[in-house]
Assembly symmetry: C2
Homo-oligomer: 353 residues x 2
């Protein structure tokens, strides 16, 4: 049994339940490895996947039969119900029956912020959503391998962005090129969270690519988080288009230095709120200094003010200080794995301006 399964069961037992019922797609992925398609929103033929974890058994995946081929070989027991059909669509009824069959009267520790009330009617449940989110912070070796692969895809995208970025090209053209390159490298479609901002838009911190055309002398901010095998990579660069002013170069160097300092500080036992404070106070950015990566693209440990969580070997985190103001924004990020000695930088892309 993977360590994460043990941690999840401890959460359930401490809440007085006999089993974990995961209903957030990211928690289902964490417990089972099953990564549902998400790019087109809720599925009209099925409910989101659910997973049941009990002591001494394989995790049970509760999915529609449409998802069965993708769920084979994960080492889970499958409880399936009818999804797409040319007959009447009744996914809610079918899912409810499958769920109650799998749970078989047990008291479940679940994520009540995502469990549909209709499915909860006949269940004995207790909410442990926050505890499960906490239990996901530390990664098992198989999770770290998936995160490495996802970060490598982000790297591929960053290289494609840098290759494409020049005056006369639009943000959307950079985006299309990098997305195509990532999907070719992944041999298929993958979810991809991305900020692609140029010129004055960089000051707004986040934003999807637009048809704005890059100009000489301005910045392009590229923040990419692809999901691969259910795990989200991350990355962030700021690329200079043509000649960049001396003033902007000075700001870039301050962010670069802050990122290097942050990487040097990472080691087990470091309190993330203190790490945040030391990096943030010089630059004053309006966002996190970093965060955990896993089956969501922003998870514990959140490197934000006042958090008393200590880093542990086996956490995978982003570090991404920035400076925003005077019509431009600069952000540089790297993904690191916390090790016993300090950290291993997983990102491999070029951070030069």
């Amino acid at each position: 049994m993977a360590l994460r399964h043990e941690r999840a069961l401890v959460v359930a037992l401490e809440a007085g339940a006999e089993a974990v019922l995961a209903v957030q797609p990211s928690t289902v992925t964490w417990l089972t490895g099953f990564a549902p398609e998400i790019e087109t929103g809720p599925n009209p033929f099925a409910l989101p996947p659910m997973a049941l974890l009990t002591p001494d058994n394989q995790p049970v995946l509760i999915i529609s039969d449409d998802d069965e081929p993708a769920a084979r070989g994960l080492g889970c027991e499958l409880v399936t119900y009818q999804g797409y059909t040319i007959g009447p669509l009744r996914p809610l009824e079918h899912a409810q029956r499958a769920l109650e069959h799998a749970i078989n009267g047990r008291k479940v520790a679940t994520e009540a912020g995502a469990l549909p009330v209709m499915l909860a009617l006949n269940l004995d449940w207790v909410d442990v959503g926050a505890d499960l989110a906490q239990a996901r912070a530390l990664k098992d070796p198989d999770e770290i391998e998936k995160l490495r692969a996802a970060v490598a895809l982000a790297d591929v995208g960053q290289r494609a962005a840098r290759q494409q970025a020049r005056a006369g090209v639009s943000e959307l053209e950079v985006w299309s090129a990098l997305q195509a390159t990532i999907e070719m490298a992944a041999s298929g479609r993958i979810p991809l969270l991305a900020d692609v901002l140029s010129g004055p838009r960089t000051e707004q911190v986040n934003g999807s690519p637009s048809n704005r055309v890059l100009q000489d002398g301005e910045l392009l901010l590229v923040d990419l988080a692809p999901r691969y095998l259910g795990y989200w990579g991350g990355s962030c660069t700021t690329i200079g288009i043509g000649e960049i002013s001396a003033e902007t170069r000075v700001k870039y160097q301050r962010v670069h230095d802050a990122l290097e300092r942050a990487i040097e500080m990472v080691r087990p036992g470091v309190v993330v709120g203190e790490l945040d404070e030391l990096i943030r106070r010089e630059l004053g950015y309006p966002h996190h200094t970093g965060h955990g990566l896993g089956t969501t693209y922003h998870e514990i440990p959140r490197i934000v003010p006042k958090v008393t969580t200590a880093l542990e070997a086996g956490m995978v985190i982003s570090l991404e200080p920035g400076i925003y103001g005077e019509g431009e924004g600069i952000r540089l990020g790297q993904i690191v794995l916390v090790t016993n000695e300090g950290c291993e930088v997983l990102s491999t892309y070029n951070l030069d301006l």
Copy 2:
């Protein structure tokens, strides 16, 4: 008040409730025009958007403050709660408070298959999910305009696919080209449901693009449904790569004839189960003959066996017969608007083999 708002309120009143509480993102879009980002799955900083509709008032959108800029100008009252923050993240608590404030003790008719149990604890609710899905079948004029625009984007993608499709090119290369073309035409990222299948993969009916390389003499099946302004377009073609055998051409012609016959049959009063039977019986495909399009990519009226729903002017439906077997599949689709006289074909792409 739009006709759809009146229909939604009738559903609520008939269920003994005073208001509609929409919690399926597609139903929220239907009532408010607000189209949440969906491509990267659940948002760790907020719950999915919700909408409350009461008689004699504007719809109320209940969203995180991150979504406020995108929600302005829709003619809705906004009730916002804290989303992203560098402080503690408590979206569930904040959403619960915002929701209870907006509902203010009313009994709500809601979608209990999607309402989180934690949000339902203090609510007086009744489930009307199936009735709201039914009420969405008929489109208002503003919805038809959005559907026209979404179908036009699908057309753009189909033209790009045809331009790219040739021996030596992979499914993923066709996909990347068509996706880029659609997003350039839309001036931004958009959700896109797609089957891109070549050669023997066409027989499997549905599937995402792979790195399989197209060969002369085989087929490429391209089924594209982009979401634009919250509404899903649709389209389907089967493209011949190089010289196609006489046998396959005969099958192609049978599907083409069936599609033409289906279009000719569409008019108000036609029972969709009868339409399905007449088109299906000659070809024997394993999927629907067609379906409604709107804020989901597959909705009522479902053109499948035995459904007694009659077509009405103002419905927007796909028609998409196919033939599968002997190592290949052919499917041809068009999107039509049911009019008083028959139908208007909205799709404009080339259907030739």
